[in-house]
Amino acid sequence: MKLYSLSVLYKGATKSNLLKAAFDLSSFSFFQRSSVQEFMTFTSALIVERTSQGTRASVKEQEYLCHVYVRNDSLGAVVIADTEYPQRVCFTLLDKNPREADAMTKVQAELDETKIILHNTMESLLERGEKLDDLVAKSEHLGNQSKAFYKTARKQNSCCEIM
């Protein structure tokens, strides 16, 4: 039951900007951590770019679940967790506004009525014809090492994680 990253981004006109992020990568192999972190940033930015304002969504990719909320004022937040971490808790976290301290119950009630879009893969966020491989290759969030890691991971399917 793991929470890997929490990122806050601003959804600009053409791309999203990372404002702040926190990571817990202790469960990953030591030498993979920097690549994993870059991928989580890449993924969070991509998700916010492809999510409309005023929307909540969950994107499943292999054994990761990314939960996103983009507010009407273009501020977005993404939580990347494993499939055991309860979805409700993630969205409560994303909605939290520290000024409304007693709003937890209010948020819970709102969540019950809120529609959360479910995506079964990252691919469903992309435009027709867009390939994830191309986006990875072009990304400025990913260093050369990470891009190389992505390529080898793609080749060795089954037990290897892409992120």
């Binding site: 039951m1 469960s27 192999s29 030591f30 030498f31 055991e84 090492q145 190389a148």
Partner: protein, 412 residues
């Protein structure tokens, strides 16, 4: 990297040496990993040490692996002579890169048998290999061979030691080995979800090193509680708990007419601790109920519930009329009897408390044990959940109810 054959030779020999040096210099390495690095930089060794982590840059693997593998095969075909140290280094390099090379493990078996390689050192290599490949079947299989070898090897006789002293030292050594194996399994289980190979190894170790040892089983049950609570879809972790429950019921209340373990005469015949068995099952059902409610929609939890309830149900059928729902104060009796069964066992494994602190408090206050589980109480649990639960949880709950009616049968 282009180069003549001899350049590759020189490079590979240097890398093998660097690896061996790194392993010898630092005895606290706890993890190895491949560093994704497509090109060699400058003239630096691909072997990198950071804190206690050993990394191998990936660019060198395509030279290293075929070269070293080939050498080993030539040795095996008796076309090349390699001295023992070279064999140790080569197999070490090979297995850190690819731990499923049975030939390499077999060469190490020969080295262990002739005394050129200590079993402890070999287990250490296995532990490192598992940090990178936590499922590797060959690594686990080889590990069991080494452990058996360790168990059968008689420690050197020391005239100054009494028999009791020797027995105690042997017990300590066993306890240490057991602890170490539990740690290796736990780490591997964390690194890969539902790591069947790691958990089956864990079971194998308990069966060989802790047969009939109620204290060890209770400690394991207790220490695994937080783990399974944080890994609610790890089927193998819950299966381990089912194994522990089964062993405990066998040890605490064996079927009429036979003792739980005929081999170890050092263990006194365990008394029939029936209230303790009931307490075990109540406790386990409490745990799984709590998890089912907190983390809805995980099939593993429901599957575990089936197993637990079925074990209890079958045990009840074999022990009709026994159990904690009789009169008297079973609570205190259970606690004293539990501590009695662990006395006289030669192996002591120091861990935290052997029971949940809540239960100890409950027992001391003389609060009666919770009611024994029945089909009826199970039906109540399911009905309580069906209100306001999501579709997945609903379908699991209904399937469980159907199982209760079909397989378990008429409510007891």
């Amino acid at each position: 990297m282009s180069g003549t054959g001899s350049e590759v030779d020189v490079l590979v020999q240097r890398v093998v040496r660097d690896l061996s040096t790194a392993l010898n210099r630092n005895r606290n390495i706890d993890e190895i990993g491949l560093i994704p690095c497509p090109e060699a930089r400058y003239n630096r060794s691909p072997i990198v040490m950071v804190e206690n982590k050993l990394g191998v840059e990936s660019w060198c693997v395509k030279f290293l692996l075929p070269y070293v593998h080939n050498k080993l095969l030539l040795y095996r075909q008796r076309r090349l002579w390699l001295d023992r140290q070279a064999l140790v280094d080569i197999t070490c390099t090979l297995l850190l890169l690819n731990p499923d090379l049975t030939t390499a493990w077999n060469v190490r078996k020969e080295l262990v048998e002739c005394g050129a390689l200590s079993p402890e050192r070999d287990l250490y290599l296995g532990k490192l290999a598992l940090s990178k490949s936590p499922k590797s079947p060959e690594t686990w299989i080889h590990r069991r061979w080494v452990l058996l070898h360790l168990l059968q090897k008689a420690p050197p006789a020391d005239q100054n030691q009494t028999d009791a002293e020797r027995s105690r030292l042997l017990g300590e050594q066993l306890a240490q080995t057991l602890q170490q194996e539990m740690k290796v399994c736990a780490d591997a289980a964390c690194r890969y979800p539902s790591n069947y190979n790691a958990w089956s190894h864990r079971i194998w170790v308990l069966q060989r090193l802790a047969k009939g040892n109620v204290k060890v089983f209770l400690d394991e049950l207790s220490s695994m509680r937080p783990w399974v609570s944080a890994h609610v879809s790890d089927h193998s972790g819950f299966h381990y708990r089912q194994f522990l429950l089964q062993e405990l019921t066998g040890a605490l209340a064996p079927p009429a007419g036979c003792s739980s373990n005929g081999e170890r005469s050092a263990v006194e015949e365990p008394p029939h601790d029936l209230p303790a068995v009931q307490q075990l099952f109540c406790h386990e059902l409490e745990l799984v109920s709590d998890l089912i409610r907190s983390f809805p929609g995980h099939e593993t939890l429901w599957s575990h519930r089936r197993h637990v309830f079925f074990l209890w149900h079958r045990w009840k059928e074999q022990h009709p009329g026994d159990g904690g729902d009789e009169g008297g104060d079973p609570a205190e009796g259970a606690q004293t009897r539990l501590s009695q069964t662990s006395a006289g066992v030669p192996m002591e494994v120091e861990r935290g408390c052997s029971s949940d602190p809540q239960d100890i408090k409950r027992l001391r206050r003389g609060v009666p044990l919770p009611q024994p589980p029945t089909s009826q109480t199970e039906h109540v649990f399911v009905s309580g959940l069906l209100d306001g639960c999501g579709p997945e949880q609903r379908s699991f709950a209904l399937a469980y109810r159907k199982w209760l009616d079909t397989v378990v049968g008429v409510p007891s």
